[in-house]
Symmetry: C2
Subunit: 546 residues, 2 copies
């Protein structure tokens, strides 16, 4: 059977230490992958490049929260009820499938099942009666009296549940952003897309909090003329950020800005610009928390257009839900430039009536009444000490008065750029994979960008001569001490050593030869041009750091 590009990359990945299928010695299990020594570095380089965008360019702060998440959090966030896939079981071969994976794209999947048009991919039996299955991995905390918990489906909730503390850290100014990089989990029903659909994956998310009335971004002006490549499910368009926002193609500056940041990050990482687009979510595919979402999609020869980043406007959804569910004040107080005078309704409690009627509870009732927002003037029901109490009309009066206020409590809106690191990593491997011939033999290269390449340079003594070995090891140490990842190799011909480095995407190879002994120069070979230049040892570091 002929191999496609995915098979080739996975073989290379396993042989050279990028990606290993997890638990293979026990037969493996779909949806889990290990990063070997090179994959681990590649992943870290991608994450650090990403951090430089969000921490340095966009001034976010980073936090780290647990992956085990309390039931209460994910109930409030809607994931317990909404984070589901329609599933069908095959009664004949006892397997379960994600309904969507069995129906042609664009078709109504529920109707297809109803009409008996969905067949088991194993045995051909008709599959009916789809039912929703929650995709979170569940576990229990403690022994005896346990608490229900899930592995987090996104890192975002760890940020939302700390909003009040983070807002204080940001000295109560909007907008401000918080990032988290780490594992996310999704118990896929029957994952069949290799490293693209993992059950445990690496995410990098930013949650940026805005005043709902003002979704402008302070950096927008300086980048607004950049062109974005958009696809709205009907037509493709190339359009400036500025025009896209003005024409309402993209709802607000903040969304457009993070789309630009995403595009710039992916191009810098080495994505093929011809295999990149933003696609808008249709109303029927929006997540339960989103009002608008644009995916950055990368094209894969095996998998087609792959969603690698989602940039969503989550509005006030999450913070409002947590305020409602927890009762904790997680509002943002936004101060006005100057105080405003507003007309307000106030309740004036009548203690002469409240006192005799409610006795020792009257004091507490008075405090609640004085501080509550007045919505309607009749049928006031309040809660005191977990007891609902109806307050008779004669126990209070309502007055309207003018009040000077210095600010208002708002629930910020959230713009969320969410990155699937594993998918980006795979697409970068695919986009940089080149097959060619050298001296009649098959030759493989990974043209990884310098900034993400796991090894920046090979270091080779030309021949196994003690003097050359000594200098080569010194050069190697010097580079490593300067934070440059090297691969020292004294085995085999120079051609073989170049080939080993080309195959793992190393942009440079340094060779120490007899001239080095004379004039302290070395050759530096460029992976993509295969040209060699001579440089002084002292100049190598700045040359390679570029």
């Amino acid at each position: 059977m002929s191999q496609d590009i995915y098979d080739k990359i996975m073989m290379l990945s396993k042989r050279r230490g990028f990606i290993y299928p997890s638990y293979e010695i026990y037969g493996g299990v779909a949806g889990f992958y290990d990063y070997g020594p090179l994959g681990s570095r590649l992943k870290q380089n991608i994450e650090n490049l990403w951090r430089s965008y969000y921490l340095l360019k966009d001034n976010c702060v980073e936090i780290n929260t647990p992956t085990i998440t309390l039931f209460e959090v994910l109930k409030a966030s809607g994931h317990v009820d909404e984070f589901t896939d329609l599933t069908v079981d095959c009664k004949k071969c006892k397997q379960s499938f994600k309904l969507e994976s069995l129906v042609e794209e664009g078709k109504d999947i529920e109707k297809a099942a109803e009409d008996g048009k969905v067949k088991c991919p194993n045995c051909g039996a008709i599959l009916k009666n789809p039912y929703p299955v929650n995709l979170m991995f569940s576990t229990k905390i403690g022994v005896g009296t346990t608490r229900d918990a899930f592995l987090r489906p996104e890192t975002a909730q760890g940020i939302f549940t700390n909003f009040h503390l983070l807002y204080r850290y940001a000295r109560e100014k909007l907008p401000f952003g918080v990032i988290q990089v780490g594992r996310g989990y999704r118990n896929e029903i029957s994952p069949r897309q290799g490293t693209i659909r993992q059950r445990e994956f690496n995410m990098a998310e930013a949650e940026v909090f805005f005043n709902p009335e003002d979704k402008t971004h302070p950096n927008f002006e300086s980048v607004k003329d950049n062109i974005l490549f958009l696809f709205d499910n009907v037509k493709e368009m190339k359009i400036s950020m500025d025009k896209a926002v003005k024409d309402g193609v993209i709802n607000n500056q903040a969304l457009a800005y993070y789309m630009y940041l995403t595009q710039d990050f992916l191009m810098t990482a080495g994505v093929d610009p011809k295999k990149f687009r933003f696609r808008k979510h249709g109303d029927d595919e929006l997540a339960h928390y989103a009002t608008e979402c644009w995916d950055a999609e990368l094209f894969s020869e095996r998998f087609g257009w792959v969603e690698c980043v989602g940039i969503a406007d989550r509005s006030a959804y999450d913070l409002s839900s947590h305020i409602d569910s927890s009762g904790i004040d997680m509002y943002a107080l936004q101060k006005f430039d100057k105080p405003k005078v507003v007309q307000v309704k106030k309740i004036i409690p009548n203690m002469g009536k409240l006192g005799p009627k409610f006795k020792d509870k009257a004091g507490k009732i008075k405090t609640v009444l004085e501080n509550m927002e007045v919505k309607n003037s009749k049928n006031i029901v309040i809660e005191v000490d977990d007891e609902k109490i109806k307050i008779p009309n004669d126990c209070y009066k309502i007055v309207e008065k003018k009040e000077k206020i210095t600010g208002e409590k708002i629930v910020p809106h959230v713009i969320e750029p969410s990155y699937g690191i594993d998918r980006i990593l795979y697409c970068l491997l695919e986009h940089s994979y080149v097959e060619t011939k050298k001296k009649g033999e098959e030759y493989k290269l990974l043209k990884l960008n310098r900034i993400i390449a796991p090894i920046k340079t090979g270091v080779f003594p030309l021949i196994s001569d003690d003097k050359l070995l000594k200098i080569a090891k010194e050069v190697d140490k010097k580079l490593r001490d300067a934070g440059i990842a090297t691969y020292y190799d004294e085995g085999g011909t120079i051609g073989r050593r170049y080939a080993r480095m080309d195959e793992i995407g190393t942009p440079f190879c340094i060779t120490i030869d007899h001239d080095t002994l004379e004039d302290k120069t070395v050759t530096i070979r460029d992976r993509d041009t295969t040209k060699q230049i001579r440089k002084k040892i002292d100049e190598i570091i700045s040359y390679i750091k570029g």
Copy 2:
């Protein structure tokens, strides 16, 4: 109630953004903590310092494997059967407790329970009948036909299950080391030690593979005169690494070397040398996989001596178990310097007998017989196509012959330094926390080492003057672009701004004043001496990087 140092640090941590108790808005749950913006940086700095020891000094490679781990892996590793705590339930107040936590240190815990000497800390009832409870969080992979899994109790198994691939990556040379940094999980029964005993924690582990016959370390010679501070549960001793190994206090060079590396790392991170020791595990406390283990312990005013690092000799335990359980060849082939001639027993199959007797299976049987190791010459039973077959004596003969072999298959031994990052982080906060008075008022400082401090320098315009603000922002950007974490602050008096930085352990504060406009110099204030010096703007970066 008076606060102890732990309470004070946790209050500071929450207020300033180091550590937040997780899920507090939903009432919280013991054993889970979030790292806020400063804690997250502090943690990352500790981890990166650690990486510099293992990746640069010790030449290890890093990998990343899933936290969700197949049942089969943890069954083989012994965790399913051995990773337990004795638990007692209180029938009266329906709570469960870890037996060990209720018995005085040094006492026989099982006997104490038998003798009715263990009381419920809540209601005083006698607690009896302890039973083992597995401490792994369990979950299930998939829908319908599920597979059992656990959250990993250590990152190590992800390394062991890839040993054969990693050994190939290391070009089949011993010793070589592999590290992993990430989450570990332990479903504690009733954790009551705050950030010291977390249910989800951050680990950094190295698994270094040695030839069992040769546990020397290539770097040992150059550091062997360093003094280690050891405690063998009876007496304390200060002893050189060299002498400790020669006298058999520490079993081998490899253990001693990683103890030294640990000590050097902790001191560089800023541990108080007076609050540091290595303690040897007694036979009764060794983990099920260890033959010898030394803990690096740090002293905490609240918690006493805290185990922060374990340096264990795991011998061949894990690799042997996985070879046995999976049947995969994970041996290391060690080539001899020159080939050896050995006497071997070989089976010569007799096809004239095998053919008629076993028909189409005879060929397969022949291959198995020729390749098997001969233990006894009679009663040979082999397995072909899942069927056990007894081979009659007349179907083969056994000959002894000389054979030249170039190497031998061995199961490497593992030396494992395993670090609890959260415990180290907390102890560093405690060791650097200083309370003093300033102008009659309480004043708090964190004397964090420069290398791990989350913010390296504050950047302050002296007053709110447009010209000063402009330069201050430029200086701030310049530092950030050079990878130096800064905190820009224009609010409040300089004294207040210094205080804010002192409290979070920022070693330097840079102030831009009117002289800056004249001569491009700024003041740099040192946290610990409070002395100020003037430096040119161009000199700041190298000064702060030290």
